[in-house]
Amino acid sequence: MENPHSATLTQEQGSSLWRDGWIRLCKNHLALFGLAVIAFFCVIALLTPWIAPYGYEQQDLQLGASPPSAAHWLGTDIFGRDMLTRIMYGSRVSLLVGFVATGVALVIGVLWGTVAGYAGGRVDAVMMRLVDILYALPFMIFIVLLMVVFGRNILLLFLAIGAVEWLTMARIVRGQVQNLRHQEFIEAAFSMGLSRWIIIRRHLIPNTLGPVIVYTTLTIPNVMLLEAFLSFLGLGIQPPQSSWGLLISHGVESMEEYPWLLVFPGLALSITLFALNFLGDGLRDALDPRASKD
């Protein structure tokens, strides 16, 4: 810190990394398309209460399940509820779970993994064994207990999912940091007398960004599916609320009779996941620090 030379060096590197990254991302059309799709879904989700064509629990038992028509663009489910409306409301839950729980997992996992990988030795051993313990606990019982003790709460669901998903993240980050730690540029930063936190923040974390971003784009869909799985088992969100995952798992049961109940929520989820993956790909390429040397 005392060395003015090193301070300007790291700052320069930091800012140019992000700026260069943005420029490179803009050149990647697929990634931009992914970003646009996600942004579009987010805007729709935000505006749903004002633009949805029907109420999400509004039934028409006489109508029952009907294929797409002028009145119901994506058809209706067996209660005669408009599928477009339900998918729009479902996107609110799914996207929120996806982003919030992944955010939780990201923050805990990256910090935990970096510290463990950087510290090494006994600290690393203790921290990673704690991860092992949490990996091994029966997840279902854990969720059931959370729901019973704290009541049903969608925030809790996010926390519970986040609390499980950070484990793999921590392992991946730790592996990366361990690999980086003894590389020349880190040793060089050490010899320059930079403090540990600066090294972690300025050098280790940015250099692990590639795998972290790849894994994050994989975690978001994973979290959405986990939410669906939990809801399906009765441990997640409550009807008549819905999420994409829940719509799909119900749609599967009648896929031969009412395919539109499966196809449309399936498409919504798949398109989002594809978009996320393209975006993650683009981000990874854009933020690769070594690529910036070329």
């Binding site: 051993a125 064994r129 606990l137 279902m140 059931v144 991946i172 795998p211 790849v214 798949s270």
Partner: protein, 311 residues
């Protein structure tokens, strides 16, 4: 290396003990006991059942006697299946789930590594997008969607493959393995593509190329070794995940495997079964993580060097 393995094995003991204790307490805190049923169970019967399974003792005594049984390698009788011990149930389900996980892993590695490596050779071209998008299909389709779809197409419409079962009819292992494996293929594809890109931009690859080695040799001989490290690190947890996470696939295809026991035991409040499967999976996870670390060291000579230096 041996010391590293030994110390990790020693570390596993407190890990397992904490897992056992925490699970033991967790299951007893969960509402609803193993014997609750829709038709009310008379109090005399409840008392008799609790006496048979030692549930009438104070909890610390139950805990100690459980640890005692465990030290002798006994998981105790299942509450849900009165005539069966947990050992017997696990022994019955394990080979099936392990076989399923193995086939699924093969499917995942085959699809994942091929797609990832091919994609990394020409990033941001159709040669990148096509295999990656194909590998992504698995991740974009949850197994509870993929499974029934495969059954519908290959089991019902085409009538090529059986719709359920395991080892009963010819070909009944194909659909479950594909359903379970494709979900992991995308992960492996992403990781191997990321790893390969990382490696391909490194100096020693440039050196190899500068030496005029053919691209095929550069990729297969030099790049793959380093590029697959993230994949290898992922394999350990992934295999453990495949074993314990095969619940959905086992349910769709009516496969009598461990994944189903694990989840159903939780719902049945089958205390001994929950504990037994948890201890079993915890041991597996610890072992597979250790194995992944060992392989990572073995592949990356630099880390081997560090390891000997730091101990």
């Amino acid at each position: 290396m041996l010391r590293f393995i030994l110390s990790r094995l020693l570390q596993a003991i407190p890990v397992l003990l904490v897992v056992i204790t925490a699970t033991f307490l967790l299951v007893r805190c969960a509402p609803g006991g193993p014997f609750s049923a829709e038709k009310a169970v008379p109090p005399e019967v409840v008392r008799a059942l609790e006496a048979q399974y030692r549930l009438d003792q104070p909890i610390w005594q139950q805990y100690l006697s459980y640890l005692g049984d465990l030290a002798r390698g006994e998981f105790g009788p299942s509450f849900r299946y009165p005539g069966r011990t947990v050992n017997e149930l696990i022994a019955g389900g394990l080979p099936i789930t392990a076989e399923l996980a193995f086939y699924a892993m093969l499917v995942a590695i085959l699809i994942g590594v091929c797609a990832g490596v091919i994609a990394a050779l020409r990033p941001n071209t159709p040669q990148d997008y096509l295999p990656m998008s194909a590998a992504m299909l698995g991740i974009c389709m949850p197994s509870f969607l993929m499974g029934p779809l495969l059954v519908l197409v290959f089991g019902i419409w085409l009538e090529w493959l059986p719709v359920s079962g395991w080892g009963e009819l010819a070909g009944d292992k194909i659909l479950p393995a594909i359903t379970l494996g494709t979900g992991y293929a995308a992960y492996i594809a992403r990781l191997s593509r990321g790893g390969m890109l990382e490696v391909m931009s490194q100096d020693y690859i440039r050196t190899a190329r500068a030496k005029g080695l053919p691209e095929r040799v550069v990729v297969l001989k030099h790049a793959l070794r380093g590029g697959l490290i993230p994949v290898v690190a992922f394999l350990g947890p992934a295999f453990a995940g495949l074993l314990s996470g095969s619940f959905v696939v086992e349910t769709i295809f009516q496969i009598p495997g461990l994944g189903r026991f694990y989840v159903q035991a939780a719902f049945n409040r089958d205390y001994t079964m929950i504990l037994g499967t948890t201890v079993f999976f915890a041991t597996l996870i610890v072992l597979f993580n250790l194995l992944a670390d060992i392989i990572a060291v073995w592949i990356n000579p630099k880390m081997r060097h560090q390891l000997s230096r730091s101990r």
